[in-house]
Amino acid sequence: MTTPTAAASPRVAGPIRLGRNARIAVASVVFLAVFYAFIGPQQFANALTLGAIYALIALGYTMVYGIIELINFAHGDVFMTGSFVSMTLLTRIILPVTGLTAPIRDIVPLLLVLLLVFALTMPIMGLIGVTIERFAYRPLRNAPRVAPLITAIGVSFILQNLALIIFGPASVNTPQLIAPELSVNIADATVPYINIFIFVLAIFLMVALNQFVGRTRLGRAMRSTAQDREAAQLMGVDLNLTIAITFFIGSALAGAAGVVWGLYLGSVKWDLGFNGGLKAFTAAVLGGIGNTTGATLGGFVIGFIEVGAASKGFSRWSEAIVFAALIIVLVFRPAGILGQQLGERA
C-alpha cells in the first residue's frame, strides 16, 4: 500500500513528488472540466455521488490487494451484505425503537440515527470481513495464488445466496432517511442533500483512512507488511493481526458504502455486489491497485464514465463500457493511473 504521504523511496525526492502530485491535480481538474462540459451540472453531481460510493468499495479491494496480493472477490458481496445489514438495522431496530418514520426532517434526530446506522453497520461488516479472512484466506496464505481466489469466489457465492435466501430475489426497499426532495441549488443543478451528505462522508472516511495508514503505528505495520511480509515480521509486526485489521477496515468501508447505497437509491438487492464489486475493482485497478489515493480517483472516474454513458443514452451499454475500460487499462497500463510498475512476480 503506497500512499503519497509515505512513499518514502529515496530516489523520489521532494520536488519530483510535488511535480507528480501537481500533474495529478492538473489532470483531475482538466478531466472534471471536460466531464462537466460534457454531461452538465446535474449529472455531474450524480456522478460525484456514485463515484464516492465506488471509491469507498474500491478502497477495500486496494488495501487487501496491497497487503496480501489477493483479489478479494467477495468484497463486492461484503458491500451488498452491508446494505442489507443496515436496512435490517433501520427497519427492525433503530426506527421502531426510536419511534421515528422514514424521512426524518429534524436535523438532530436525523444525524443521531445516521450516526447510529454507520456506527453499527461498519463494525459488523468489519467483523464479517475478518471472519472471512480467518476461515477462507488465512489457511491458504502459502498456497498457489489461484487457491484463495477460488475460495473468494466461493465466499462470494455464499454471501449472495444467503442474501437471496433470507431476503428473496426481489429488490428490498430501504427507508430513505434524508428526504430525497430536500435539495439545494448549486450552479444550475438541483443537488439533493443526500448527495452532499454522501460526498462529504466519503471524503471524510478517505481522509481518515489516509491519516490512519500514514500516521499511526498500525498503519505503518500495514505498509511494511505490504512492502515485504517477511521483513515486517522480523521487525516485530504481528502479521495475522495486521492482515485482520486490513480486512476489518476494508470491509467496514464497504459496509459504509452499503449503508450509503441504501440511503441513496432506496432499495437493495441480493446481486448488487457482483456488478458493484466488479466496478469498484475496476476503479481500484484504474487508479493503480495497492494505492489508496488511486482507488479514490478510480472510483470517481468509474462514476463519471457510468453516469456519462447513461446521460448520453447508452445506459444499456454502461457496464460494457466500464469493463471495456478495465480491459483497456489492464492491457496498456496494468499499473493503473497512479500505480508504480511492479516487476512480474513468478
Binding site: E69, L70, I71, T88, R92, F135, A136, P139, L140, R141, N142, A143, P144, R145, V146, A147, P148, L149, I150, T151, I153, G154, V155, S156, F157, I158, Q160, N161, L162, L164, I165, I166, P169, Q233, L239, N240, F274, L278, F281, T282, V285, R316, W317, E319, A320, F323, A324, L326, I327, L330, V331, P334, E344, R345, A346
Partner: protein, 401 residues
C-alpha cells in the same frame, strides 16, 4: 505427507487388472472409445432401474444426460485453460455463447440460413477459438489474477453485446427456432430422428462429441504442447528460460479451450433450439469452474466426471429436494426476523450457495479436487512442506478446555 508404498499384488485378479490398465495407458484413444461406449450403454440402463427410475421418467433422464454432456464438454475445455495451462479464466461462458450464436446465425429462420450441423460444429469451434485468440493476444501478458479479472470482464461484456445488438441477435428474446441437426438420408426408424420428444439422437450425438473431445484433449495433454502448458502452470519463468514461447503457448491454450466451448455451444443451441443472452451469464462460467475444481483440475476424466455429477445433481436432485421436504413435512423455522421454510424453497435457485460452500471447503481441505492428477496434487501441496510462518495460538498453548 506420508508416502504409501504400492507393491505389485501377487493376486491374479489384480495382475489381470494391472495388465488392462497398462494396455489402456498405452492405447489412450482406444480406451477412451471403449470407456465412453461402456458409459454410453450403462447410463440408459441405470436410468431404468430403481432407485433412479423413481426420480423422473426415462426420457427426462436421457435428456438430462445430453445436457450434462454439454457441461462435460465445457469442463474438459476449461480444463485445458485452467487445469493444464494454469490460466484462471472466469469468462469462459463467452466462448460458449460464440459457438451458440454462430450456429444460430448459420441455421435458423431468423438469419435465413440453413447450413448442415456437422460443418457448423466446426465453424462454431473456429469462431470461438478466434475470439479466444482475440481476447488472449493482448491480455495474456498480464499476471494471473489480472487475467482472471480481464476474462471476467470479457465474459460480462459478451452477453451485454448480444443483448443490445438487437438487429442481429433479437435482443432479450434471443434467436428462436434454431434448426435441429438433420440426417442426410431419410431414416427408416423414428428413433434416430432429431425431434423435440425423442432424446436418443442428441444423447448419441453428445456421446460422440464428448468422445472426440476427450481423445483430442488427451492427445493434447500428452503432446509437446501439453507438457509446455504444464511447465508454464508450474513455473512460467522456468518454462520461458527453457525455451518455451509462453505467449504462443498460452494463446494456444486459450484458443483450444475456447474451441471446445464452441462445440458445446453449437450442440446446446441445436438441442434447445433457442439462443438467448441469459444462457451465457457469469453463472455458467462459475458453474463450470466449480465442476473442474471439484473434479480435479488437470485430470481429464476427473473434470468430466465432476461436470457430469454436478450437472446431474443440478437437474434432477435439486429439483426433487423440496418434494422430499414436503414429503417429510419439514417445519418452517422462525429465526428471529427470518423465516426459513425449506418446503417452499426452490433449491435449484440456491445451487450456487452449495457451490460456494463446496468451493471453499474443497480449497481448504482438498485443493487438488476429488479425482486429482498426481502432478497437480504435488504442486498444490508444496505449501504444506514449507515452514509454517507462525503457529496459531491454539497449537502453542496446547489444548483449550
Amino acid at each position: 505427507m506420508t508416502a504409501t508404498a504400492r507393491g505389485r499384488s501377487p493376486n491374479p485378479i489384480r495382475r489381470g487388472w494391472s495388465r488392462i490398465s497398462e494396455l489402456a495407458a498405452a492405447h489412450h484413444s482406444v480406451s477412451i472409445i471403449v470407456g465412453m461406449a461402456i458409459v454410453g450403454a450403462l447410463l440408459p440402463i441405470l436410468a431404468r432401474v430403481p432407485p433412479f427410475n423413481q426420480f423422473q421418467p426415462f426420457n427426462a433422464w436421457l435428456d438430462g444426460f445430453s445436457n450434462a454432456g454439454t457441461f462435460v464438454l465445457l469442463a474438459v475445455g476449461l480444463n485445458i485453460v485452467v487445469g493444464l495451462a494454469g490460466l484462471l479464466d472466469l469468462g469462459y461462458a463467452a466462448f460458449f455463447a460464440f459457438g451458440a450464436y454462430a450456429y444460430a446465425f448459420g441455421a435458423s429462420p431468423f438469419s435465413g440460413n440453413d447450413f448442415p450441423f456437422l460443418p457448423m460444429l466446426l465453424v462454431g469451434a473456429v469462431v470461438a477459438a478466434t475470439f479466444g485468440v482475440l481476447l488472449g493476444a493482448p491480455t495474456l501478458r498480464l499476471r494471473g489474477d489480472y487475467l482472471a479479472i480481464v476474462t471476467l470482464g470479457f465474459g460480462e461484456i459478451v452477453p451485454i453485446v448480444f443483448l443490445n445488438a438487437e438487429p442481429y441477435t433479437n435482443g432479450t428474446n434471443g434467436i428462436g427456432g434454431v434448426y435441429k441437426p438433420a440426417l442426410p438420408w431419410s431414416p427408416p426408424f423414428d428413433v434416430v430422428q432429431f425431434t423435440l420428444l425423442n432424446p436418443w439422437p442428441f444423447y448419441v450425438l453428445v456421446l460422440l462429441i464428448v468422445t472426440f473431445t476427450l481423445i483430442f484433449s488427451y492427445r493434447l495433454q500428452d503432446s509437446r504442447l501439453g507438457r509446455a502448458w504444464m511447465a508454464i502452470r508450474e513455473d512460467e519463468l522456468a518454462a520461458a528460460a527453457n525455451g518455451i514461447n509462453t505467449v504462443t503457448t498460452k494463446l494456444l491454450a486459450f484458443a483450444l479451450g475456447a474451441s471446445t466451448a464452441g462445440l458445446a455451444g453449437v450442440f446446446n443451441a441445436s438441442k434447445l433450439t433457442v439462443v438467448s443472452p441469459d444462457q451465457f451469464y457469469f453463472q455458467v462460467s462459475f458453474t463450470v469452474l466449480t465442476m473442474i475444481v471439484l473434479g480435479g483440475q488437470g485430470n481429464i476424466w476427473g473434470v468430466a466426471l465432476g461436470a457430469f455429477v454436478i450437472s446431474t445433481l443440478q437437474q434432477t436432485f435439486l429439483k426433487t429436494l423440496n418434494q422430499f421436504f414436503q414429503a417429510i413435512n419439514f417445519p418452517a423455522l422462525h429465526l428471529g426476523p427470518v423465516t426459513v421454510d425449506l418446503q417452499h424453497v426452490n433449491f435449484t435457485e440456491y445451487q450456487f450457495l452449495l457451490f460456494g460452500i463446496a468451493l471453499v471447503l474443497m480449497m481448504l481441505l482438498r485443493p487438488e479436487g476429488l479425482f486429482p492428477s498426481g502432478r497437480r496434487r504435488r504442486e498444490l501441496h508444496t505449501a504444506d512442506e514449507g515452514p509454517e510462518p507462525s503457529p496459531t495460538g491454539l497449537d502453542a498453548s496446547g489444548e483449550l478446555a
